[in-house]
Symmetry: C2
Subunit: 389 residues, 2 copies
């Protein structure tokens, strides 16, 4: 197969989820690195930190006190990027020539919404990599509950949402009522590690819910819908999961419900894509069994990452699924998946910088996704930290 050649030559690969290209330079990882070193992982955090605003029982910046929670805990971000209410905005009316230009070139839209913070564990010093699937399950359940409670009344997945809510234990600390105004999209994401802008090691993620559909999921949805139109109603990610399963070279791990691959079009060195094997449109469609499989898959990715360079591996991750307010067509085109974007390239302290060329021209990577997958396949088993002591 002539594709073996791609291990040796510079080429670009197409990302069908976004329509972008990525420049791959497999020979380039040999260059010496004299630049910035990431701070090494210090594994000496306490299980409880009285100064942490996420630990159970502690007081937060704006005065609220956290409950003595057991596993997950959700609250509205004290410094939300969007708010539920703000003054109404309409661009000023246009009349003169300058105002016509402004209508074209100075376009703005108001955005409202609500931002949550969600802790993964009461313990200050664990990460998803340290947590067993049974400990990750409450996180998946909380994600599902929040997603379910924000779906619009007429949402195509409303019946599934009600079913899911009935099958998940309620939050012992009570539920937050969803915002009164229906929102359009919910982005669940985690920034892990200082290198990815995380400012508190207490394991947590964020959930930003907005009145608009952000660019990246909008782009993906358009690409997914287009693929269906052009290929007789087939699903891009179903076809892709089937193809990767048959080929094997980019597969990292799988169970009955989920496939983990280093996608053909990966940008970040050890980027992975976690894909539902059947047509799941949103969290609420996962069966109880699949929620467990999803918890297992997420833990598996996090642990392999940590084992790769024997460090607490930084990444940003996030779930893409059906918007919380959407048409039948948008829901149908959606295919549940999760992205992991980790910056480390060669070791616990040497990262890949996506900077000048990447920002001005096109993302560029130094190892092939096949090489990355091969290494991640070999990183299974027990978490390295647990074997040290």
């Amino acid at each position: 197969m002539s594709d073996k050649l791609l291990d040796d030559i510079s080429h670009r690969r197409y990302n069908p989820l976004t329509g972008d290209w990525i420049l791959v330079s497999p020979h380039r990882s040999k260059r010496p690195w004299q630049g910035q070193q990431e701070a090494p992982f210090r594994g000496d955090l306490p299980g409880y930190d009285p100064t942490c605003y996420l630990c159970p029982g502690n007081q937060r910046a704006q005065g609220d006190q956290n409950p003595p929670y057991q596993n997950t805990f959700v609250f509205v971000n004290d410094y939300s990027a969007v708010k539920e209410t703000q003054q109404d905005y309409a661009p000023s009316s246009r009349s003169s020539d300058g105002e016509d230009l402004a209508a074209r070139l100075l376009q703005a839209q108001p955005v409202t919404g609500r931002c949550y913070v969600l802790t993964f564990s009461a313990k200050h010093n664990v990460t998803l990599a340290d947590m067993a699937p049974a400990d990750i399950l409450p996180v998946i359940q909380t994600w599902t509950r929040i997603y379910a409670s924000h779906l619009s009344a007429s949402h195509p997945l409303r019946p599934q949402a009600d079913k899911a809510l009935a099958s998940i234990p309620p939050n012992p600390d009570g539920e937050l009522a969803p915002p009164p105004r229906q929102l359009r999209y919910m982005q669940i994401f985690e920034n892990k590690g200082a290198a990815m802008g995380c400012s508190n090691p207490h394991p947590h993620c964020q959930i930003w819910t907005t009145s608009v559909l952000p660019d990246e999921p909008a782009r993906e949805l358009a690409q997914l819908a287009r693929y269906r139109r052009e290929h007789g109603g087939q699903h891009l990610l179903e076809d892709y999961a089937r193809l990767e399963t048959a080929r094997g070279e980019r597969v990292v791990w799988q169970n009955d419900g989920f496939l983990v691959v280093c996608p053909w079009w990966a940008t970040w060195p050890f980027e992975v894509l976690l894909i539902a094997k059947r047509h799941v449109r949103g969290l609420v469609e996962l069966t109880e069994e699949e929620r467990k499989q999803f918890a297992e898959a997420v833990g598996e990715v996090a642990r392999r990452y940590d084992n790769l360079f024997e460090t607490s591996f930084p990444y940003s991750s996030g779930i893409h699924q059906a918007p919380i307010d959407c048409t039948e067509e948008e829901a149908e085109a959606s295919w549940f998946h999760m992205h992991f974007y980790p910056p480390l390239l060669r070791s616990a302290t040497v990262r890949k910088f996506l900077v000048g060329y990447e920002l001005l021209a096109e993302p560029q990577r130094d190892i092939t996704p096949e090489q990355a997958a091969e290494r991640l396949r070999k990183c299974g088993g027990e978490l390295y930290r647990n074997l040290l002591s």
Copy 2:
């Protein structure tokens, strides 16, 4: 004007150059920061470093020796992301069902090209901020010479290129012959500072020249061409420069040839856009006078950046102009401009991380471009470092 309201409410702004949206959360800069701190600037570098592979006379990693150059020096990157020659690649022929899917979902294109490194000065311990316009002029001249020598024989700007070459002093170290195979695009860019992946403080930029048109300039070119079609042949950046000049609130600085603004759609905290005031399609169209004005503008941006937080301000910057091989229409749609993407947000050590939400959903910023422009307007004058001693 109701647009004042945008200082207080969350909104998204449209980038007409790329078609992307940016979420602006003006109230968010108040949140406390407990995350990663950037290393502070150490201003104690020697003027010559015997271990630097860019200093005059030194030996490089692969054995070549640098000439005793005076200001700029160009060489082919010892670790190029693309190479001039490599094995030919054509995707394997498709037949079975799996191969059909592969043709759709595993798309690759070979990329060849040449990557240059270009030093800005023989001195190890200066940056563009330290250099007077007269010292930056040789950099602009070298950029122009390299761009000119890579234009295709039938390029719409070929006559201007020949004229420019005649008006620029030749390189005392001799010229590098352009690659024998015509390439498509040349990206001139600088990564400055460890925070932007720069691994050598010796002032330099890179020039990556490829057989393909990368995504970002392709997107811009398409948007520029579309604007011309939809608005009677008007140029987007001409209209935009006119509008910003009239409004003033986002203008940082200008001279006769160039306008420097914090663009309406800025993503990075103190992002600026440097726009040619008349229709310059590529470096070779700048007059001798305009090359000086461009040198002055680049120095002005770099110095204001350093003055802002009294540090050596990191950024990635790059020039967008007509492709080195292009149609009459592409050249016509091109409008010479330069982007500066700096990560610092609040101080010399606190940067903005474009991570989870930004990668998964949409870029988000914490101060408005108007606030950024106001601060940069006040940072003119002498470089802070020169006033300290």
